[in-house]
Amino acid sequence: MTQQMRPSLDDPRVAIPADSTWYEPAPSPQTERQAEFLTLREGEMFVNMGPQHPSTHGVLRVIIKVNGEKVVDLDPVLGYLHRGVEKLCENADYHQAICYTDPLEYVSSLFCEAAPVAAFEKLMDVDVPRRAQYIRVLTMELNRIASHTLFQGWMALDLGGITPILWAFIERDEIVDMLAALTGQKLLYNYYRIGGVNGDLNHEFMSRLGTWMSRAAAQIDSNLALINENEIFVRRTRGLGVLDAKTALKMGVTGPNLRASGVPFDLRRDRPYLVYPELEFDVPTRDEGDSLARYLVRMDEIKQSIRIIDQVLHEMPDGPVMAKLPRLLRPRPGRAFGAVEGPRGVYGTYAISDGTDQPFRMRIHDPSFVHLQLVGPLTKGNLIADTMAVMASLDPVMGGVDK
């Protein structure tokens, strides 16, 4: 038997220049906007960033049109993480659908669960026991702090500072371990159920939470001192990517990004759910609308979350954590929209029931998807490196964007 020789890479006949060797963004523009994007004027060129780039927070590819070092235009290419969660949920029953939504946004998965659970509970007219509502608020606020501290580290990392992320991970790991003690999972908790939560608070969670709460405020303040007074950080982010309130509303921006532009819109206060109306907290806003403001609003929110947790721990009643429900859930035909205020904005789920045990249509709305649209308009005219600073300040997570 003759063994075929493997061709050597040095062989000039192997290295055939093919069309695929050359990078062309798209040979034939499909839309008016794409045609405009693909037209190069004098001195302009394309630079490809991603799909695997540390500052894209996941797998995102951005085609940047540059003139020298200045960004002229950019076109994000999505879909690298697309898993078809909506279709999967339509083919799963109501309990199963919740666990599909968990990995959407792996940084704050409790919010991804909370939105479909809220929609399903509306469809089924379930009353959630008060203790379960308090537990949900408690765990969601913990998750919000974990997400925001990670954002703090990421933002600094994208601007070139390595140290803050190491400090941010200390806080975040403590919260993640705490929630792991409660839910049994480190990141994809799958803790909320239709009608309550999976299990009552346990001793390990409570003791860890108590220890953490006693030093959390001081620890987070010292983390903030690491960045907030750093001249390089402040001068690079101040006045960068300014988003005014009117544009923000037109673009459908929600969450801290909207509040950094001076619009005090917060679902926890404006469209109350769970026990938020009974809790006391402020909605921090800033008027500047730049990257620094978006960062500072999130840091202020951490303090408010600690305040909420403190109240929840004092006011939590005893009682059951699950409503009595049948195993097989068949809601009446109807439509419901469940929304929660997450660390990035409004997480929504629009569910349609047709009377069977599976949702007929389940739409998942993720704020990162909307916010990523802004990267283009906000970075035009800035340097390439500022694209990352703007993107980091908008805090998108690609798992949620790509669904």
Binding site: H82, K250, G252, Y350, R361, R363
Partner: protein, 183 residues
């Protein structure tokens, strides 16, 4: 939720509403025909007593009989949330006017609806696929799109897709798996 909103909507839109205003929990819902979509959205946005200025969500729905486009709006005046269901899009060639003239942020959500359902939004400057590859030919969230491996389907559901041998995942078959919920 404001109970007067129902009366106000009824009074403002009157004949245009295909069904009475529904209110449940903190949501209100109106249903309009395709031809009135743009005018209705504009009125909702500009009417001094309504001021539905925030677009929370835009999505397509395939009921198996027709396509729908559903808008979730939030009022900056009263804080109420409204669901606008535009029904009556032809399933074989769904077309509707784009909402980007009022909410530029709707652009990507419309691209997603186009990608997933094939709904053409007239006036959207960048209507191309957003998740699926450019050369992909079918629209995955349509009800006639079968999953290749449907092991996730629960035993209580009537149809087992797994048993439909020979149906490729991206075939646009004429049959629809689930009946319209009629809601």
């Amino acid at each position: 939720m404001d109970r007067r909103l129902a009366a106000l909507l009824q009074e403002t839109f009157g004949e245009r509403l295909l069904a009475p205003v529904r209110q449940r929990y903190d949501e209100s819902e109106i249903r309009i025909a395709l031809k009135d979509a743009t005018d209705t959205l504009r009125t909702l946005h500009d009417h001094p007593a309504l001021r539905f200025e925030m677009l929370i969500d835009l999505c397509g729905v395939d009921t198996g009989e027709e396509m729908q486009v559903v808008y979730h709006l939030s009022s900056s005046k009263s804080g109420d949330w409204l669901r606008v269901i535009v029904s009556g899009l032809d399933r074989s060639a769904p077309r509707i006017a784009s909402a980007t003239f009022m909410w530029p942020g709707a652009e990507w959500m419309e691209r997603e609806a186009y990608d997933m359902f094939g709904i053409i939004f007239e006036g959207n400057r960048d209507l191309r696929r957003i998740y699926m590859p450019d050369d992909y030919r079918s629209h995955p969230l349509r009800k006639d799109f079968y999953l290749a491996d449907d092991a996730s389907r629960s035993p209580a559901a009537g149809v087992r897709n797994m048993e439909r041998v020979g149906t490729p995942a991206d075939a646009t078959a004429a049959t629809v798996l689930r009946k319209s919920p009629g809601v």
